[in-house]
């Protein structure tokens, strides 16, 4: 991408606003104030209440958790600006500059920092922690399922493992790219000096941070028996751990809405001069569609959880058939979010790989308009397919046919993305690099996930596959096999920009083959037992499924080892890796024109874009 930008040195640090409260606040003060709010609310609300009544317990716990989140946000300084507005003032320019992390070194990562690059790294660490804990729970699940009738963990613990693994991984995968790279890289790719709403950007991350201890508290409150789908009435009857789940979802939904609005606004309003829509990098388009899809999707999940909370605290009965409510109301609200959410996860990973295929093949992206049409088509169609998850629920069987049509039709825009990949790969000689390997892996995994998706979208076939391990394997191929391969490839591709160093190649290759071989062994085993008739989310199973489950467990361990190798590669390379050249892959997008470490506002002069970012290849006459 041609640019007229000139780079400048990092500007000298501004004087600190030493008398401002803002300089005193950080994660520690956030934790202290959050804990005070939480315990203060807990003890104040307990006073005079009958704490043997489960509704009272739920009220006290839910409010205490919300107050923890509010207290933390106050303690870290997120609300200093709004408090000033209440008295007709705002932050001073020095305070604004301080809040951007200028001159604070590592400390800025533990503060309410408005620099999009800091927020990106904060998200990256959070993603790694969430993936690590969700992955550990997956290993425990698979260990329990290695043999039939295993009693390694009690059924109650097992059910909680299933639910908390699910929600942890879903949260991690939703933010896996739009969090780290949507914040760090995306503004640079469009030639912006930052995000449109820097304070909201920091707010979205720290809100997510406050949700993590809330989710962990479920373990200390008896766990969750419902799986991550939290169907009612099981969820309304569940123990206190369910409160942690619903508060986590509500906080996360707010965080996601803020982040989505911010990224969408940034891309629409802050692109460099000359960056018309047909010159916007495909990764930016993928991220924008993903977060824009999340903005309307998550409020329905939040609404579902608010009603669950009301059923649990004041007996509203939204989902209680005894008083005229319906569990189908919950199921609809959940899946109206639940299916778009698959594409919220998938699109950034696919778009990141589309971004790098032209770079490694040295060819233009084949049919940029088809790539955009594919992603937009998927996003649009995804809002019309939710009830395929409810074919077997008994809710409105007359709608099964129409939802089968819309669901199977979504294969068409998905096929356009395959066309763009194979069109670009056609007659190419791609550069053998780790991110490029992830492209091949994603194509295989998405193909398997996509074709099996057509099977489970068919009503007669879903009669046998629904609720079985087959469905578990199908969506893991899509979310883990395709989206996570895309995310790993993307993090490896932009690692030089994030850390200034190259990712260790040998360790990356080892991790790649371990993860991909293990992943296919793991989920092919699940396909086998699922097709045979093993239900999902079971702590024990019949002897006939022993072989497939044992194979799956071996595959899971292989994936686990591979992910540990990748984690080691990231940590080791970030500390001791080879210093990266400015543009190691020879890419043409704007972020590679920004030096490392990036200046606070990325560009000293606003870049002007004069060509598309995929101008590779030699012209050939037909």
């Amino acid at each position: 991408m041609t640019t007229l930008a000139h780079q400048s040195e990092v500007s000298s640090p501004a004087p600190l606003p030493t008398r401002s409260l803002i300089t005193k606040l950080n994660i520690v003060t956030g934790l202290i104030v959050g804990a005070i709010f939480c315990w203060g609310t807990y003890y104040a609300m307990r006073a005079g209440r009958d704490m043997t009544n489960e509704h009272n317990i739920n009220k006290v716990l839910i409010l205490s958790m919300f107050m923890w989140s509010l207290g933390f946000m106050i303690g870290i300084g997120a609300l200093i600006g709004p408090f000033r507005w209440l008295i007709g003032k705002d932050l001073t320019p020095e305070e604004e500059l301080y809040m951007s992390g200028q001159g604070q070194g590592m400390k800025r990562y533990f503060k309410y920092c408005t620099d999009h690059k800091v927020v990106g790294i904060q998200y990256l660490v959070a993603v790694m922690v969430l993936l690590g804990s969700g992955g550990t729970m997956a290993m425990m699940i698979r260990t329990n399922l290695a043999t039939p009738g295993s009693h390694l963990v009690l059924p109650k613990i097992y059910n909680s493992l299933v639910g908390l693994h699910g929600i942890t991984m879903i949260i991690a995968m939703i933010i896996v790219l739009t969090g780290p790279l949507g914040n760090f890289i995306l503004p640079m790719m469009i030639g912006a000096r930052g995000e449109a709403f820097p304070r909201l950007n920091a707010t979205s991350f720290w809100l997510l941070f406050t949700a993590i201890p809330v989710l962990c508290s479920a373990w200390f409150l008896g766990g969750i028996p419902t799986g991550w789908s939290a169907y009612a009435p099981l969820s309304t009857q569940a123990g206190p751990g369910m409160n942690s789940f619903l508060v986590t979802i509500i906080i996360f939904a707010i965080s996601t809405a803020i982040a989505g609005t911010n990224i969408t606004t940034t891309v629409i309003t802050m692109r460099a001069k000359g960056m018309h829509f047909n010159r916007v990098p495909i990764f930016v388009i993928g991220c924008t569609i993903s977060v824009a899809l999340a903005v309307p999707a998550f409020p329905t999940f939040m609404a579902a959880m608010v009603q669950t909370g009301m059923d649990r605290t004041i007996s509203t009965g939204f989902y209680d058939a005894n008083v005229g409510g319906s569990g189908w109301l919950y199921a609809n609200l959940f899946w109206i979010m639940g299916h778009p959410e698959v594409y919220v996860i998938l699109l950034p990973g696919v778009a990141a790989l589309l971004e790098m295929v032209p770079v490694f093949t040295r060819k233009p992206l084949f049919s940029f308009p088809m790539a955009v049409a594919g992603m937009a088509g998927i996003a649009g169609m995804s809002a019309l397919v939710w009830a395929h998850h409810m074919y077997m629920s008994g809710w409105m069987p007359a709608l099964n046919g129409p939802f089968m049509v819309t669901t199977e039709f979504i294969s068409f825009p998905t096929g356009l993305l395959f066309l763009v990949f194979v069109g670009t790969l056609w007659r190419s000689r791609p550069w053998l690099k780790f991110p490029m390997l992830c492209v091949y892996a994603m194509l295989w995994n998405l193909l398997v996930g996509g074709i099996t998706g057509v099977y489970v979208s068919d009503v007669p076939l879903d009669g046998t596959l629904h609720g079985s391990m087959y469905v578990t394997a199908h969506f893991h191929y899509t979310i883990m096999g395709a989206a996570l391969s895309g995310a790993v490839g993307a993090i490896a591709y932009w690692f030089p920009k994030l850390s200034g160093r190259m990712l260790n190649e040998r360790a990356s290759y080892i991790s790649f083959w371990l993860v991909q071989i293990g992943l296919n062994v793991l989920f092919m085993g699940m396909f086998l037992v699922g097709a045979e008739g093993q239900p999902r989310r079971v702590a024990s199973y019949a002897e006939q499924f022993a072989g497939g489950n044992f194979i799956s467990t071996l595959g899971a361990y292989t994936v686990g080892i591979g992910m540990l190798v990748f984690l080691w590669a990231i940590i080791h390379s970030a500390r001791k890796g080879d210093i990266a050249p400015a543009n190691p892959w020879g890419a043409k997008t704007l972020e590679w024109t920004v030096p490392y470490p990036a200046p606070i506002e990325n560009f000293s002069e606003d870049p002007i874009v004069t060509s598309d970012p995929y101008g590779f290849g030699k012209r050939v006459s037909k």
Binding site: P155, F412, D458, L461, A531
Partner: protein, 267 residues
């Protein structure tokens, strides 16, 4: 006066196609595509049906049939995608410097896009039409028009299944069905959501609290039925199982009589 200017002529479409197919990279891609398509097809025709549960009903037969048809239909598309992918993988450029810019630099190719859209569109339409036809045949007048249909009321409770045959007035905890007679399952729950799954019948429906849902099956072949719960329903969800069988009409009558002899409740 005659003269030869063939060297200046543009190749005909046939010649262009022949030249295209004879290129080494294209030949390799075609061979890979054929091999991968064949592997997918074999998988769909032989592996999948053998994995799936035994067929004891028309519905289970439909499920197996659709699984096979969809795999075979999608095989050429999967074969095409993987052929190009595998060839690119085998043809990779190694080294620390990027490869030179490729000579093939088409940003688009309208005929290729149209062919792709038509092929994938045809697959989608075929999948939809086949699915709707089978769904229609499975649900159309299966029970309503059958005078000999049997009704079974199924109740899920944490963590057991129970059955009531109103015409026979018997309560059971196993499920026996006579072959050849349509069955109308009326399913409910007394606590949380469960999902009634008689595996070899190829049907499933949720048991919702205080609501009755329905599912229909046409047992066709004698044999054992595993009955499981397919919806996470709490602590012992994994153990919410029972058994049953598709039996002959006379064996079914004998079974009913044996239960009536014990007061109408299966011991």
């Amino acid at each position: 006066m005659a003269f030869d200017n063939s060297e200046d002529l543009e190749p005909t479409p046939g010649q262009r196609l022949r030249n295209f197919v004879q290129r080494k990279d294209v030949t390799q891609t075609i061979i890979l595509g054929v091999v991968i398509t064949a592997l997918f097809t074999i998988f769909g025709l032989y592996a999948y049906p053998n994995w799936m549960p035994a067929v004891h009903s028309k519905e289970m037969h439909s499920a197996r049939l659709i699984m096979t048809i969809f795999t075979v239909l999608s095989a050429p598309i999967g074969g095409f995608v993987l052929a190009i992918t595998v060839r690119a993988f085998l043809n990779m450029h190694r080294g620390d410097t990027p490869p030179p810019d490729q000579e093939v630099s088409e940003k688009s190719n309208t005929p290729a896009i149209l062919v792709w859209c038509f092929t994938t569109g045809a697959f989608v339409v075929a999948a939809i039409v086949i699915g709707l036809l089978v769904y229609n045949s499975d649900t159309n007048s299966a029970v309503a028009d059958a005078p000999d249909a049997i009704t079974v009321e199924v109740t899920g409770a944490q963590w057991v299944w129970s059955f009531y045959y109103p015409a026979q007035n018997i309560h059971t905890h196993t499920l026996e069905l006579p072959t050849g007679q349509p069955v109308d399952f009326k399913v409910t729950s007394v606590d949380v959501n469960h999902s009634f799954w008689p595996v070899q019948l190829g049907i499933k429906v949720d048991a919702n609290r205080l609501v009755t849902t329905t599912a229909e099956a046409r047992p066709t072949i004698l044999g054992h039925i595993d009955i499981r719960c397919a919806e996470l329903c709490g602590l012992n969800h994994a153990f919410m199982e029972t058994g049953g069988a598709v039996v002959t009409a006379s064996d079914f009558d004998t079974w009913v009589k044996s239960i009536k002899a014990t007061g109408g409740i299966e011991q």
